[in-house]
């Protein structure tokens, strides 16, 4: 579980986070949503320590991250996996070497054990026959899967994903979403996902934090969001006509107004 209280962060005069408080739950997919510039990436970077918040407290399972020394943070970070927006794979390494890197750095496993673990995670993310390929030789969706495989190879307790669907087609996006959701439940990890993809919100949003201009605007889950009367949230959702239709359909469904043939 990750709790954060009254997180504030500014860059010069620009206030990016203005007192955000929320709890990210274990074994659930916790989503941070909002328009571009709403502060979700900065919030995520504050949570993992890539940015220092100006004010506020971050607690990882009750332990204050903000008060930790650099050494304590380094130890904690070994329990964190992160999938970056652009996957952030090491260009000079093959897919296998990318996944092997954390194992080489932090474990004393033998070569056979490492190979076994690599094959396990590659199989888990449904990626075969790509071991010897370089990141430049694989597709965007495959890169995301390699990024996920690298993030989970050390069995992290916390998984951060920054815009996991960006640049992917809808089908691949759904596969990545399902994979993240399954991994979260399977390994009982605290997953924090930054997204503005409403399909992801509807499909995997167990605990949603909606942000507007650096502030917490709304919280709930994918069921609550359908019936929310929060105006900025509705504007955000209704930005997509398709999603508006989907919302209408679900509301009709809830009221029992959907004809049998549509169902």
């Amino acid at each position: 579980m990750i709790e954060f209280k009254n997180i504030k962060k500014s860059f010069g005069d620009k206030v990016v986070l203005d007192g955000v408080t929320h709890t990210m739950e274990t074994g659930k997919t916790n989503l941070i949503i909002g328009t571009s510039g709403s502060g979700k990436t900065v919030l995520q970077k504050c949570l993992v320590g890539l940015f220092e918040p100006d004010e506020g407290e971050i607690l990882y399972d009750g332990k204050s991250f903000t008060d930790m020394t650099q050494e304590e943070r380094t130890i904690l970070r070994r329990e964190i996996g992160m999938l970056f927006q652009g996957s952030a794979l090491f260009d000079s390494m093959t897919v296998e070497e990318n996944i092997k890197f954390p194992l080489n750095m932090f474990t004393k496993d033998t070569g056979t054990q490492k190979r076994k673990r690599i094959n396990e995670v590659l199989e888990r993310v449904n990626l075969k026959d790509a071991n010897k390929k370089f990141p430049s030789e694989i597709s965007g969706g495959m890169k995301k899967r390699v990024g996920i495989a690298r993030a989970i190879v050390l069995n992290p307790k916390y998984l951060f994903c920054d815009e996991p669907n960006s640049g992917l087609d809808p089908v691949t996006s759904m596969i990545i979403d399902k994979l993240i959701k399954d991994l979260t439940v399977e390994y009982n990890i605290t997953t924090i996902i930054n997204t503005h993809d409403m399909n992801s919100v509807m499909e995997i949003g167990d605990n949603i934090l909606y942000m507007v201009e650096g502030k917490k605007e709304w919280t709930g889950n994918s069921k609550d969001i359908i019936f929310s009367d929060n105006k900025p949230l509705n504007e955000f959702i209704f930005a997509s006509q398709f999603l508006q239709d989907a919302k209408n359909m679900r509301m009709m469904e809830a009221k029992g107004e959907v004809p049998e043939e549509v169902k």
């Binding site: 320590g49 130890i75 970070r77 750095m105 932090f106 951060f160």
Partner: protein, 245 residues
């Protein structure tokens, strides 16, 4: 950003890279990779520059020494001392600032922009120690070696050019090489080589590591790294000469 801010961030970067490696084996592999990239990767250009530098130095010295009272072997002495004192350490290091410096800056810049450095940080790796320290230590070992190779090749280039242009025979050149040889010159050249190696590796590492923005900024920081490295090499060249000679 002013000079003091750059100096402060540069000093903090150097301080931050001194830490215990998370896994010595992985760091050793990275160090060897850098030795290969910096040393073996630059040997071609260093050889070409050195041979021609020595050859041109011999021909031009002979052109200027027209007095019949000056022995031909003096040409060899002048070639030897200019190559050891100035051409090999300074000129070769300026070339290396372009070759190695731009590579370091663009490699780190690309890693920063594509969030690879952030990915390493998240894994709990001290990125300054893992990415910068092996580059600086590899440069401190390989660049003085390249300078020594350059000295040998420069003198050989001068010897070859002197003989093939009919200026002086191999025997005369060899005799001149051994006349009035001051071993301190070699030590002085090595002191310069170590100083320049540190400049060539640490300044581009600083510019690459702190890149913000995109592809355009990587190019800019790479150019800036090379320019600043060259200026610092020339400044320290003068300072060392004034202090030690």
């Amino acid at each position: 950003m002013n000079f003091i801010t750059h100096l402060g961030r540069y000093s903090l970067m150097l301080k931050g890279m001194i830490a215990k490696p998370e896994n010595a084996k992985v760091y050793w592999k990275e160090f060897m990779q850098q030795c290969n990239d910096i040393g073996i990767g630059s040997i071609g250009i260093v050889s070409i520059v050195s041979i021609f530098m020595g050859a041109v130095s011999a021909v031009q010295t002979a052109y200027q020494l027209t007095s019949p009272i000056i022995s031909k072997s003096t040409i060899a002495q002048i070639v030897r001392d200019t190559v050891i004192l100035e051409f090999s350490p300074t000129l070769v290091c300026i070339v290396l600032a372009g070759v190695v410096g731009s590579k370091i800056a663009s490699e780190l810049g690309n890693m920063r922009v594509s969030e690879q450095i952030d990915a390493l940080e998240i894994m709990g790796i001290n990125t300054k120690t893992y990415l910068i320290l092996p580059k600086i230590t590899a440069a401190l070992i390989m660049i003085p070696l390249l300078v020594v190779i350059s000295m040998v090749l420069g003198i050989l280039g001068g010897r070859l050019a002197g003989n093939s242009s009919g200026i002086l025979s191999y025997d005369t050149f060899d005799r001149g090489l051994m006349e009035n040889f001051n071993t301190f010159n070699v030590w002085f050249a090595l002191i310069k080589a170590y100083t320049f190696a540190f400049i060539i590796s640490s300044i581009p590492a600083y510019y690459g590591y702190h890149v913000t923005g995109g592809a355009l900024e990587i190019g800019r920081s790479s150019t800036k790294a090379v320019v600043v490295s060259c200026i610092m090499i020339l400044l320290s060249d003068y300072a060392l000469a004034a202090l030690l000679l």
